[in-house]
Symmetry: C2
Subunit: 334 residues, 2 copies
């Protein structure tokens, strides 16, 4: 069972929490300055160390070239790897846990990018999961670390803790302008709030990613604490806005109709799916519709285009995928 099929804290507003640690080996240049042979050496070294980390889930090592294009893009859709990592598999490798809560990119921008992902609001737990692999590295290799700067990374924005922590927030009730205002406010606190799906300002599905920007001069614990409390404050604002919205019969009507279409359409694009998903998830979170939030969370991940092709192991056209998506959603919501 994948991580996203499990329950989590504050799931009514927070879909998931992700923590990523950037680490490099002291004795090797950053991947950008390594030749193919050097990267293969780094991958082999890190593989041997990391695969022996104590971990509840089974870990597996993949050469990125072993994945089909659809599988690679699907991994990016699931936020297990970066899009760049998906598009250029040369001399890159991935360590993945069976339930996909742990993913470690080898020879991306840094030698190792250790990521842990959990449902709901769980910054500390996600950090602990990632940190286990970090400790394993510390104990078995010499990491690039400066006593003043902290961990050294290819990109200076990661210098220090090398940690990026983020949460996915579902904010259907805080309308566009409220989210814009929030984005300005959290920027002053060293955080970024931006649409997680869709491009630019247009947030598909009203899902936003809140992440820490500061890695230098702050401890991991303080950064996680900040993220946690700001996420909780935004969630509180969202809940108040929901209460106001749900007093309106016409809005309730929209929720029911979205539910009706999701349960009955014959074909559906991902764009339409995520719009309907947003209203239905709001209805489910507020007790109007009886659907487990985990079911919806699972659909959000698995109904993405490349993930559909990868999971079904078929080279479907967009139209075939739209039919498949509609049928799968229908079946899941029965």
């Amino acid at each position: 069972m994948k991580w996203y099929s499990n329950k989590g804290n504050d799931l009514d507003v927070v879909l998931s929490t992700r923590v990523r640690l950037a680490r490099n080996l002291e004795e090797y240049p950053f991947p950008a300055r390594l030749d193919s042979e050097g990267k293969q050496k780094v991958n082999k070294l890190l593989k041997d160390i990391l695969l022996s980390t104590p971990c509840e889930e089974k870990l597996e090592y993949f050469d990125m070239k072993s994945f089909s294009k659809a599988q690679a893009v699907s991994l990016a859709e699931k936020h297990l790897i970066s899009p760049e990592f998906a598009y250029d598999p040369e001399d890159r490798a991935l360590i993945l846990s069976e339930n996909e809560d742990i993913s470690i990119m080898l020879c991306e921008e840094d030698h190792a990018r250790i990521q842990a992902i959990l449902p709901g609001l769980a910054p500390r737990e996600a950090y602990e999961k990632a940190a286990a692999f970090d400790r394993q590295l510390e104990e078995n290799a010499k990491l690039a670390f400066d006593s003043k700067l902290g961990y050294l990374t290819q990109c200076p924005t990661n210098l220090g803790t090398g940690m990026r922590a983020s949460v996915l927030l579902h904010l259907p009730a805080l309308s566009g302008t409220a989210v814009s205002r929030l984005a300005t406010t959290v920027a002053k606190l060293g955080m970024t709030l931006r649409p997680a799906f869709g491009d630019g300002n247009r947030a598909m599905g009203d899902i936003f990613q809140l992440s820490n920007q500061v890695t230098l001069g702050i401890s991991e614990q303080a950064a996680l604490q900040n993220l946690n409390s700001i996420a909780l404050q935004i969630a509180e604002q969202e809940k108040q806005a929901r209460t106001a919205l749900l007093r309106d019969d016409a809005f309730i009507d929209k929720i029911w109709r979205s539910w009706g279409i999701l349960k009955s359409a014959h074909m559906m694009s991902f764009g339409e799916f995520i719009s309907l998903f947003s209203l239905v998830r709001l209805g489910a979170a507020e007790g109007i519709l009886e659907i487990p939030l985990e079911t919806l969370g699972r659909l959000l991940i698995e109904m993405q285009p490349a993930t559909i092709n990868a999971d079904s192991n078929k080279d479907m056209t967009a139209r075939e995928r739209d039919v498949f998506r509609a049928q799968t959603v229908k079946a899941a919501l029965e």
Copy 2:
């Protein structure tokens, strides 16, 4: 059980058939030239004769003033009386059978307007039902009849047979332009094809009424035969157009979505209902959705605004009615 809860012939395209006979008593002027006392006398006389007509259903006589406004408008919505009859109840009366297949307006434009209505395509059967009341009149009163002209009526367009026969056709696949062309064609054959719901050219629910225009110089049987064969020809064209439409996945998708919305909305106007109804009825008629056509036919009649108020015996606002309509439709389609 009302007439519209029963099955009928060619119900996939033909919703119902209506036959109306206009009759006047020889010894009284037309209602327009009768005073109140005269009309009351006519009503009493016709009541005594008509109520004793042999009829399977229980017949009841109503002074139009005994109805509330909502009840009167509901009768018009159900095509049991004319809108004019609903708006001016003075010195007017109605004989109605329990299942509403027979309705006789007394002192509308003519002394008696005898109407029979049946589900599906059944011009002959509807005529026979109405004719039983006509025979009862012939046997018990002297009717205004001219050996050359036939039955005399207030409006010259009814002279002759005094018969107007019509069918309601559901033509979702013959798009706007195809129906316009058909209207021109049938006009040359002495028939009228026009939207049954909505105003002007905008046909709500793609439902059209085909009716005979000629009453002079033609027998009832010939007029009914014409109506029957033209209705069957239009139905055949509609079925061919449906076959072509249903090859398109995107159209099937529209049907399923309409079904989903009908089954899940929290509030719904009659205008939206009838649009969704049209696609869902098409789906049901073509075996895509498993819904009895009688259920849909019943909803089309009972979900009209005044009929909702009359049946629920409540003075609902439009918004309350929209909520009531959505809930009722949902329950009926479960």
